[in-house]
């Protein structure tokens, strides 16, 4: 077997049957944004904007390094963004601008601090 053959035969998600560590019975309650991300995924599926299989492929297309280092819902939201770019539903510029707005909005709220409690 050549040194790269395994990379061809096994995409990042395809791990069934590989050796691995003992099970660690970890569980956590979803963060609010993780739950919103899950609801977003379901709604995108209802509208056939991104179906489950496209989502799975989108995660795989992130490549082994991102699949290995991003958390579960981090992979989802990045995959959604990439798929929406590819389908020409969003542009990277649009998303960058909106992310700037969202961040600025939070900073604005934070600046008001407890005073926003009206």
């Amino acid at each position: 077997m050549t040194s790269t053959e395994n990379l061809v035969k096994r995409l990042p998600n395809d791990i069934g049957g590989l050796p691995a560590e003992p099970i660690q019975r970890v569980e956590h309650s979803l963060e609010p944004w993780e739950k919103r991300c899950h609801a977003l995924a379901d709604v995108l599926d209802f509208h056939k904007i991104i179906n489950t299989e496209e989502k799975r492929c989108g995660v795989e297309a992130l490549g082994a390094e991102m699949v290995g280092k991003l958390s579960y819902y981090e992979r989802w939201i990045v995959a959604f963004a990439n798929i929406l770019f590819r389908k020409q539903i969003l542009t990277p510029e649009e998303l960058a601008r909106k992310m700037g707005e969202v961040e600025a909005r939070w900073d604005g709220e934070a600046a008001l601090g407890g005073l926003s409690d009206l």
Binding site: N13, G17, E31, L95, W106
Partner: protein
């Protein structure tokens, strides 16, 4: 309008909870993607809100009720094994996605275990969201090659003469294990039976058991 009041309340909660921790990159990305799609009228804010409520309404207690009904009602059990989705819908559990459900019955001779080797497919309409360990590499990688070792790590020893069957879920086909009814439960009500059925029994990593103390009561 009503929505305005709701939104201000949400902002307030948000500020209260995360005052010391600004939203992180991916949190911001989620909000930005969602808001852009709403602005483009591809999805509606209310759909997200409603789906959050649906997600909150799904938990292993639903699956436990299905299992308990199957234990006490042979005709329902037959329908459940013939078409899991139709039987759950008849029971009042809506499927909010396009998935089919195959219910796998544990018997004296067969023990079933479910997994999704490729990602995290799971019977969410019936059980809610999967535990983290179900989505992580060790379970996904090993369940299909050494299920008995996995089961042993959960404290479940399956006799050698019992076949262990592992079913690998897909985007369209999900599985649910129908565990064996615990011994000594002949006089249990359906509700008491449901209490013996946990999430992990319906994934297949542990058997349904009577909670210690119940029998002494």
């Amino acid at each position: 309008m009503g929505m305005q009041g709701h939104s201000r309340e949400a902002d307030h909660d948000h500020a209260e909870i995360s005052k010391s921790s600004p939203p992180q990159y991916y949190d911001i990305m989620e909000t930005a993607v969602r808001e852009l799609l709403i602005e483009k009228k591809m999805i509606e804010a209310d759909e997200i809100r409603r789906q959050l409520e649906v997600l909150d309404s799904r938990a292993p207690a639903l699956g436990a009720k299905i299992v308990a009904r199957a234990w006490v009602d042979p005709a329902f059990r037959a329908r459940l094994l013939a078409n899991g989705r139709a039987a759950c819908e008849e029971f009042g559990i809506s499927f909010y996605d396009d998935t089919q459900l195959i219910v796998l019955e544990n018997t004296e001779k067969v023990h079933n275990l479910i997994v999704c080797t490729l990602c995290s497919c799971y019977p969410r309409p019936v059980l809610g969201l999967p535990p983290d360990w179900y989505k992580l590499k060790p379970y996904r990688a090993r369940a299909v090659i050494e299920p008995r070792s996995i089961l042993a790590e959960f404290g479940t020893i399956i006799p050698d003469d019992v076949e262990v069957r592992v079913s690998d879920s897909t985007a369209m086909v999900r599985y649910l294990v129908l565990p064996r009814r615990p011994e000594g439960t002949e006089d249990f009500s359906e509700e008491e039976l449901a209490a013996t059925v946990t999430r992990d029994t319906m994934i297949g990593v542990v058997p349904a058991t009577v909670v210690v103390g119940r029998i002494q009561q």
